[in-house]
């Protein structure tokens, strides 16, 4: 006989799973954003060799499935480099790098979207490349990139569910366990889906708010 009823403790389990998912999402997004922007800056300065290496790595990361990358890091790295790899570490490395690759693309296109004319003006008045980046390009590129960045993050939040296959106890893994015990897939996966939806909605809303603030200078203020 198995116990197939839901208990209040299941809610606690779901909350824990959600916590792991959101925590992992936040950590990997932060690392990914930092690394991706750093790569973008390297490209802005046209650092030889490093720039080509980054472009190649980003290409590989963008054009292969996250699941394959995850398996490579979790199973491949320990075998090849003789290192210990916990599921959590593998998840953080994989998701961070994957996010970084897409952030890099967004950073490059945002930087390039800033008109040459303004950059030339700033240079003529004697600003260094770094000062131009910091005062003229970055504020505008950031405002420009919030839209695509929000879309990316909403997607990356869903992508975290892949890590359940290597045993990280995230929301999807908890859902799978609950499903096995209760044999009520419709209810379990609906509940899990709603939790993902709410988290994603929160990300999208915050992104929209931030974008509105950063784009204040170009907003149409009415007649």
């Amino acid at each position: 006989m198995r116990y197939t009823e839901f208990t209040p403790f299941d809610l606690w389990l779901l909350a824990q799973g959600l916590g792991v998912t959101v925590g992992l999402f936040l950590v990997t997004s932060l690392i990914g954003a930092l690394v991706g922007v750093l790569w973008g800056v390297v490209r802005f300065y046209r650092v030889p060799v490093l720039m080509q290496v980054i472009t190649f790595v980003a290409e590989v990361l963008k054009n292969s499935p996250v699941l394959v990358q995850l398996f490579l890091v979790f199973f491949g790295f320990p075998a090849f480099f003789k290192v210990n790899m916990t599921p959590l570490n593998a998840a953080i490395i994989t998701l961070s790098l994957n996010t970084a690759a897409f952030v890099y693309v967004i950073a490059v296109s945002s930087i390039e979207s800033i008109g040459r004319d303004q950059v030339e003006a700033a240079r003529v008045f004697g600003l260094t490349r770094w000062q131009v980046l910091r005062h003229v390009i970055a504020p505008q590129a950031l405002a420009f990139s919030i839209g695509p960045l929000t879309a990316l993050l909403v997607n990356q939040l869903q992508v975290t569910s892949l890590i359940s296959v290597i045993g990280v106890m995230d929301l999807s893994k908890i859902g799978a366990n609950l499903n096995l015990r209760t044999l009520k897939p419709f209810i379990v996966w609906t509940a899990v889906g709603i939790l993902y939806y709410l988290a994603a909605k929160l990300v999208a809303t915050l992104g929209a708010k931030l974008e509105k603030r950063l784009r204040a200078h170009s907003a149409f203020r009415g007649l």
């Binding site: 303004q118 003006a121 240079r123 008045f125 600003l127 000062q131 170009s218």
Partner: protein
Amino acid sequence: MLKVENVKKAFGQTTVLDGVNLTVNPGEVVSILGSSGSGKSTLIRCINGLERLNAGRITVDDFDVAKLKELAEARKRSGTVFQLFNLYPHMTALQNITLAPIEVLKRPKAEAEAEGRALLQSVGLGERMDAYPAQLSGGQRQRVGICRALAMKPRYLLLDEVTSALDPEMTAEVLAILAKLAAEGTTMVFVTHEIEFARQISNRIVFLEKGVLLVDLPTEKFFAADGGLAQPRVAQFLSKMRKD
């Protein structure tokens, strides 16, 4: 002294400047006339270091713009006003003006802002200093552009067709300010299609044609029958411009 010596510039196969010589002394207003594509804007872009020279030399107070170390110093001495304003859209009028003084000249913020406000007031924009470029008219934007250049206290003001993107009314707004600056003794290199205005404010007028400096004469002489008008190309250009 601003010195352009035998400057050549080509974009691919197209020669844009073909051995240009020009000297601008402090206190002078020199207007550069010529039809579109004659190399006027390129000459300005060479002087402020936005284009690399293929041959020749440009010095601003003896600082060679082709040398990286001297370019920064040369740029400090010249201020550029652009045809399409080139303001920073995410900054207010005042911030547009104070950015370079604060970052490049390391002026204290309060001081730079006080000067910026005074500059904006002097061009009739005292009320609009917290407006973003998108909220300003073309004439107002160009006045901000002029203030931005003046805030660096340049010895030479480079003006690249600063009224070409403006309607006649806004053009008048901007020209009035330039006339005032000229009267105050500001050294200017003034690329323009406003011939009558150039005649009023310039000490000298030069005429560029296909990258060659055809004429370099004092203003009165330029418009005299035995001076600039003796050149058929100049006479043709002037008569065409006046008809418009």
